[in-house]
Symmetry: C2
Subunit: 343 residues, 2 copies
DNA sequence: CCGTTGTGTGAGATCGATATCATATTTGGA
DNA sequence: TCCAAATATGATATCGATCTCACACAACGG
């Protein structure tokens, strides 16, 4: 069925030279006679020789592949980064292996293992857990190039590209407070994830710096999924004394919150003010448009690739942990709560 | 720097047997003594032997990799399929190589070539062009397993999983006509893409079956991108006599149309009725919610994987071209045009 | 005219895993 | 007891590309 591919041997035979000479002609190293070289090149062309990257990889010890492991490829945030990484890598002839961890540390471990045995040259990972990192530490110690994105891990000594989650969350909550809100709800991701921790920290800092108490009943843990967030939002707003404002820690949760609130007949911003982390195209489609903390998403992928390729090429520069600032984009989803004094 | 990985040789040495015996013990074939087997297994475990999939691939002639080539991984439609394919493949120990063609036939060719020389086991492709298919035909003739998704190609003899584009478009336009619209605009994708052709055909059929003329000035060609679609929409509605309704052929274009109309101060459905092809979560966030032709997206990825794995495992069943029906989801973006007679 | 560089080429080792083949060694049945 | 079958193991070829090494031959200076 599947025809066997043309091998170097075939080309060498057709050109009437040895495999060694054929290889030299094709790869342009060592001494090759002009005439022999021409014959080889012509034969290769005629036979449609493509070379076997697997064999090359075995010889060289590495495949020109990069593993990309997002928490969820359907999250537009990761999809965008995947796209940028793909484009960026194409320039250096690498291909992209995408394997979603589905936010499961177990699965992350297995996939990392499986890809490593493929002799992948390096990884770009959004680590699922802030704590269970033995596998990542092991990889780093083995000298495997890794760049963490979105979520940095202090105990894993490798490059990372992240965003100022704490600062972004603080700014969002400060903004809500400045608008007169005192009971500010938080739809939070699993605290295993570092970004969730950072954003929670920012939330708490903002409250404390204004002398507000952190009320556990205003915080609800969901998952980064529209469906879960709908449910979480409904549960949060079914509790005795409702928040007047809501901060959601990622775009899918913001969508979920929007739907959850709508299903309860709560209007944004009339009944509840809303600020989300991570901008998303939907945010400008709603009425009112949603105020969000935007991340410089276009910069994350390219920088991650740049750092990774540097490591792959043997750079031994000190660990580089890039952290981009966020930007609060004020749109129309926040208003002063009923009965709040004008400042 | 990078530690060399543990090889079979190391394990064999540690277990004090030959490589052959070690391989037998690890892979469970042929005769192996119970004691030797135990020693090998234990040594492998102790050393953390993982096996080198590249070497295995060289030997076997194939890597357990599947190439997935969408037009654009950022399009939620493809992101969803990528996710499903990833999950499905995990069950059979394959990894997913994702390489976006970016709707460029040239790039599609190069990537296909590059992945083929990686001894990928098969491809799932959303072919960019309905016409330039020499490369796909060549692959099929070489016996490389391929499944086309979203877009079938009559001249490429391989399995495919698609959707009834013509029928879906017809239904959408029929619905607009039934609501009294006579001037129905079309925001269309590059006619190189087969889905675009099918949806255009459906649009034309619906018009003709109601005795309506196809007015070229109501059709505008965009690209599957929010930005392009905004622009196209604005241009379309800047022409002398505007349509009263609009049909957009994919979700990104629907978004673009929405934004374009808004920027021109045209309200949906008051000024313009809108039906889009492909459902998307945003469609229910807008006010009004958008009426769309939905595709059974959850079924596409799994079926494509199933068909592909069958081919990989040597099935020689006749070519299977699955086509799912679409479903019109009526929401609130269509109303009767001003001055239209009630039926 | 001979040794030294400089060219051009092929034989063969290598990467790591696997499978075939040949060679022990044991077991079982006649 | 003896031979055949069953069991266990190692040596080695193989997958395809690359690269070192050794060898051949030319050109060149002294």
């Amino acid at each position: 069925m599947a025809q066997k591919a043309v091998t170097l041997k075939d080309v060498a035979l057709a050109a009437n030279v040895s495999r060694a000479t054929a290889a030299r002609a094709l790869n342009g190293y060592g001494y090759v006679g002009g005439e022999a070289s021409a014959r080889v090149l012509q034969a290769a062309d005629r036979l449609g020789y493509r070379g076997n990257r697997v064999a090359q990889a075995l010889r060289r010890g590495q495949l020109p592949l990069i593993g990309f492991m997002p928490g969820d490829i359907q999250n537009p945030f990761f999809a965008r980064i995947a796209h940028d990484v793909d484009v960026e890598l194409r320039a250096s002839n690498h291909n992209l292996l995408i394997a979603s961890s589905e936010e499961d540390p177990e699965q992350e471990m297995e996939l990392l293992d499986s890809l490593q045995s493929l002799n992948v040259r390096g990884f770009i990972v959004a680590p699922t857990s802030a704590d269970d990192n033995a596998h990542l530490i092991r990889l780093v110690n083995e000298g495997v190039p890794i760049v963490l994105i979105d979520r940095a891990l202090p105990d894993v000594a490798c490059d990372s590209v992240t965003v100022d989650n704490e600062g972004g969350a603080r700014e969002a909550v400060n903004y809500l407070i400045a608008n007169g809100h005192r009971r500010i709800g938080l739809v939070q991701d699993d605290s295993r994830i570092t970004t969730a921790r950072g954003r929670l920290a920012g939330y708490i800092q903002a409250l404390k710096s204004h002398g507000l108490e952190v009320d556990e009943s205003l915080i609800i843990v969901s998952r980064s999924t529209v469906e879960y967030a709908i449910d979480a939002t409904i549960r949060l707003f079914s509790r005795p004394s409702r928040p007047t404002a809501l901060f959601t820690v990622d775009s899918l949760m913001t969508q979920g919150a929007l739907l959850g609130l709508r299903s309860m007949g709560l209007a944004v911003p009339h009944d509840v003010s809303l600020v989300g982390f991570d901008d998303f195209n939907l945010a400008t489609f709603t009425d009112p448009q949603i105020t969000v903390v935007a991340q410089p998403i276009a910069q994350i992928g390219p920088l991650a690739v740049k750092l990774l390729l540097q490591r792959i090429n043997g750079s031994s520069e000190p660990q580089h942990n890039a952290q981009f600032p966020t930007r609060l984009i004020v749109r129309g989803s926040v208003s002063r709560p009923a009965g709040a004094p004008l400042r």
